[in-house]
Structures are given as structure tokens and as C-alpha cells.
């Protein structure tokens, strides 16, 4: 039963949607019923697979780039107050700038290939990682720092053996948020200029008013996002089973 509840949530949602479409007689151009979307999804599966793979690839590259850049940045920010004050406004700038507004520049600079999409996915997903990693890295107790210093830990050891493991639970919440954002990032990147990918498919189906296929594309995007999110969550449970957020409360026996 409890295994089914996530499915239950989705089913309830779909049922409401399907019913709503029929009850309120929602025209197809506005919103097709889920059954129609499902049919299209199956029919057009090869197409969705092709475009989906493109988007997934861009998304993964952007995400990896974000992780690789955000974590050292967070380390820098937490280890030097001056660096923090120097870099944070700029990070904020990149975060706040609407990506849709600057993405055309990427198109100009980097052409229509994969690069601009990867960059948008990167830009959109790196900030939550930086912020959450920074909180995590800062949340080590001063006693723990004392312990590390008395052992003569090098800066690297202090980081790798103490700070990083301490920060993992918070880092992972950034990584999870970033995972969902990177999908959106790849799509926005494709919006700006692409000839393949689910974002491209969205644009085309939208302008052709192929609403069912458009929704099927949205479904495909959601599936990708869900899978990616759960992969990161799985990694989390695997890497930090010791953290209080993952400890199962001893519950056997009578109480």
C-alpha cells in the first residue's frame, strides 16, 4: 500500500484533470485530457526519445559543470570573507539576470550547438548549489574545527575529512533543487535557438497548436526531471545514511 502512494498521488491528479476536462468541456487547444496525451505519448515515443536524449545530454553536462564550479566557489566563499564579499554580488548577478534575456548572447557567442544550452543549464542550476553548500560548509561546529586543527589537519584534510561530510546533507538539498532546475535550464537554452531537444519540440508544437504532443513533451520533461531528482536522492541516501535526516527511528517491539 505505502509503496503505491506516490503513484496514488499522480493518479488522483490525473483523474481530476481528466474529469475537469470533460466536466468543464475544456477545448482541446487549451488542455487535452490525459488520455489523449498518453495516446500521443505512445504514438510519438520515438520522437520524444530522440529529443529527450538531446535535452538530457545538455542537462547533464550543465549540471556537472554547475557542481564542478559551485562547490569550489562555496569553499572559497566560506573560507575567505573577502572572497565572499568579492564574488557573491557577481554570482547574484548571474542568478538574478533572466536567463531568457541573456541566452541570445550565448547564441551569438557560442553558436547554435550544444554549448549555449549547457551554459544556460549551468547558470540556472549552480546558484542553489553554492548557497546550500556554503551553509553546509559553515555548519561545522567550532569544537570539530578544534579537533581537526589539533590533529594538524591541512586545509585540504579539514575540507575533505570534516567540512565536506558535515555539509553533505545541506549540499544535497542544493543538488536536488539544482537537478530539477537544470532540466528547465536546458529547455530555456533550447528555446533561445535549437533544432532539436524537447524545448525545441515545445516551441514547435506550441506554434503548430499540437496541444496533445506539447503536453506529451511536458510529460517527457517531467519524467526526465523526476528520474534525475530521484537519482540524486538515491545517491544522497547512499552517501549519508548516517545523517539524522536518514536515520530510521528504532521502532521495533511494544511501545
Amino acid at each position: 500500500m505505502s509503496k503505491l502512494s506516490p503513484l496514488a498521488g499522480i493518479l488522483v491528479f490525473l483523474a481530476i484533470w481528466e474529469l475537469g476536462v470533460y466536466l468543464f468541456n475544456v477545448p482541446a487547444y487549451l488542455m487535452p485530457p490525459p488520455t489523449a496525451v498518453a495516446k500521443t505519448f505512445v504514438q510519438e515515443f520515438p520522437k520524444l526519445l530522440f529529443h529527450g536524449w538531446v535535452t538530457t545530454y545538455e542537462m547533464l553536462l550543465g549540471y556537472v559543470l554547475a557542481v564542478v564550479i559551485a562547490i569550489p566557489l562555496a569553499i572559497g566563499i566560506t573560507s575567505s570573507h573577502r572572497f565572499d564579499r568579492f564574488i557573491t554580488p557577481q554570482l547574484l548577478f548571474f542568478q538574478v539576470v533572466p536567463k531568457v534575456a541573456i541566452a541570445p548572447l550565448f547564441l551569438v557567442w557560442f553558436g547554435v550547438g550544444t554549448t549555449p544550452k549547457v551554459l544556460v543549464a549551468f547558470l540556472i542550476s549552480f546558484f542553489p548549489i553554492v548557497i546550500d553548500a556554503a551553509v553546509g560548509l559553515r555548519s561545522m561546529s567550532s569544537e570539530m574545527t578544534d579537533l581537526a586543527r589539533s590533529m594538524g589537519a591541512t586545509r585540504w584534510q579539514l575540507f575533505a575529512r570534516f567540512r565536506l561530510p558535515t555539509s553533505l546533507p545541506y549540499l544535497f538539498s542544493g543538488l536536488k533543487v539544482a537537478a530539477t532546475l537544470s532540466v528547465a535550464g536546458a529547455v530555456v537554452g533550447e528555446f533561445v535557438g535549437a533544432d532539436k531537444g524537447l524545448g525545441y519540440l515545445l516551441l514547435v508544437t506550441n506554434s503548430n497548436m499540437e496541444t496533445a504532443l506539447m503536453f506529451a513533451t511536458i510529460v517527457a520533461l517531467t519524467v526526465i526531471g523526476l528520474v534525475f531528482f530521484y537519482v540524486v536522492e538515491f545517491l544522497e541516501a547512499f552517501l549519508i545514511p548516517w545523517h539524522v535526516t536518514h536515520r530510521v527511528r528504532e521502532g521495533s517491539g511494544t511501545m
Binding site: 482541446a28 531568457v100 547564441l107 551569438v108 535557438g193 516551441l203 506554434s207 503548430n208 496541444t211
Partner: protein, 313 residues
Amino acid sequence: EKFPFRLNWTLYGEHAPFFVARDKGFYAAEGLDVEIQEGSGSTTVAQLVASSNSPVAYVDAATMMRGISNGMPIKAVGVTLQQSPMAFIYRADAARPTKLSEIKGSRIALTAGDASLTIFTAFMGKVGMKLEDVQMITVANPQGKEQAVLNKQADALLGYFMDQGPRMQLQTGVKMGWTRLYDLGGVSTLSSAMIANNNWLKDAKNQDLLRRFLRASQRGWQYTFDNRAEAAEIFRKAAPAFTQEIALLEVDGTMSIIRTDRTKGKPIAWSDVGDWRDSQDLLAKYAKLNPQSDLNAYFTNEYLSEPPYMPKK
């Protein structure tokens, strides 16, 4: 009486006649206080009309036809641009598609959400090519395709010859060239149209409103046709970003495609069923449009007036 009217996009020269009608008091003379609202693409605006958010709006006819075949309760009540202004626009100093033979393999930038994809699909079909024969770069906003061409990421963009081509040239100093799809392949559809919501139209009071609005608009278009420079100037008051030169170029271009052979001598915005049939045939054949058995589902001329478009007492 307040009357909201939503345009297809943010302001460009094609919209000048509506501002003329407003500023010269043509709307006021009909007892209308028209609020001209900007839009964000024909698809979205058509949806807004279909869902009664904006009862009357200005959208691309081909987009509207697709909407109708998808069940949108809307129709055209006046077609202002009757030929497609769609053109390849390219740098004059680079490789470009000016002949059919040059199209294959070239990189074409186009915006989704407006008419370009539909027409381009039809065009390619008509000239015996497939969409896959070019490398299409689909972008979400117009600047993207302009930048792509300026920066030679694309060989040409699909845009309105009287709008984007001259404007880019003036704004950037880069010499631009353009070739209309019509000239290349004889492909055309009806273009910009004023549309209304069918349910809204059922109300006699609204019908009267619409009549008055269309009459004043027709008068605005006629006045613009006759007084281009003044129209451009009036338009610039609403859109200060434009120079007189660009505004005038755009107005001139617009005025060159407001009629087809079939509608010569007819009132402004009056459309012919034959043109609708041609448009539908083209779109049905090449762009997956579900044809309507009754072409009257698309349009009506019944709310238009005869020249000289003066208000009734």
C-alpha cells in the same frame, strides 16, 4: 465607451494605422475609447481571444486558422495584411538564399509562436523540399534570430520584409537584404487580421461596438495609406524607440501588401473567400492543417464598412 484591443506583438510599424485612428480621433468619433494593448505572439493572443480575455485582437491569419481547426471559437472580422510579408532576411555581405537552389542546406533562423514556421513549412512543400533540407534554428524571441544572422550563426532569418530587414539595417549599420517567400515560390497566405470571439459576437450590442471599431480602424488604415509620413510620426509618439526613417519604411512596406488581386477596389480589410481557400489549401497540404468544410468558419466581412468609413449619425 472603453474598448480594449490587443495587438499581436510589441509595437512595430504595421500597427501605425491603429494609432492614427486613435490620435486622429476616429475612434472617439465612433464613441469609442480604444485602449491599444501589446501582445506576445499570435498563438498566445489567439488563445486570449478564444478564452474571452480579450474579445478583439490582431493576429496572424494562419495561426488563427490553426486555432479554429483546434476548436477555438474565433473568427477574422477584417484582414489588413492580405499577402504574406514573410521573407528571408540576410546580411548582404554573406552567403544567402536568394534563389531556390541556394536554400538547400542553409541555416534558417525562425521564431516559434508566430506565423513563420507554418508558412515556411508550406513554402518548403510547395517548392518541393522538406524541412529537413535546411538547418532550422528555432528561437523563442525575435532578437535571437536577428542576432544569429548578424553574427553569421544563421544564413537567414524568416521575418517580415517590411519590418525586420530595414530595421536591422538602420539599427546596426549592417547592410541587409531580403527576398519574399512569395517572390521565390509564389507562396502566400492571408496575413494579419482583426479577430473576434464568436460568443462575444452573439450579443447585438457587441456587434454594434465591433462595427464602429472596424469602421474607425478602416478609416485609420485609409488615412495611413494616404498620409504615410504623418502616420509614421503619429506612431513614433507611441513608440519613441523608432526613428522617423524606420517607422516610415515599415509603414510603406505594410501598405504595399494590404490587398490581393481578388480584393482590388474592395474596402480595406475586406477579404475574399478565394484567398481563404488558397490559404487553407496551402496549409492543409503542407502544414498539417485540418481543413474546414465551410470557409465561413474562418471569416466574415459583415461588420466592415464601405468607404469613406465615416461614422453613422
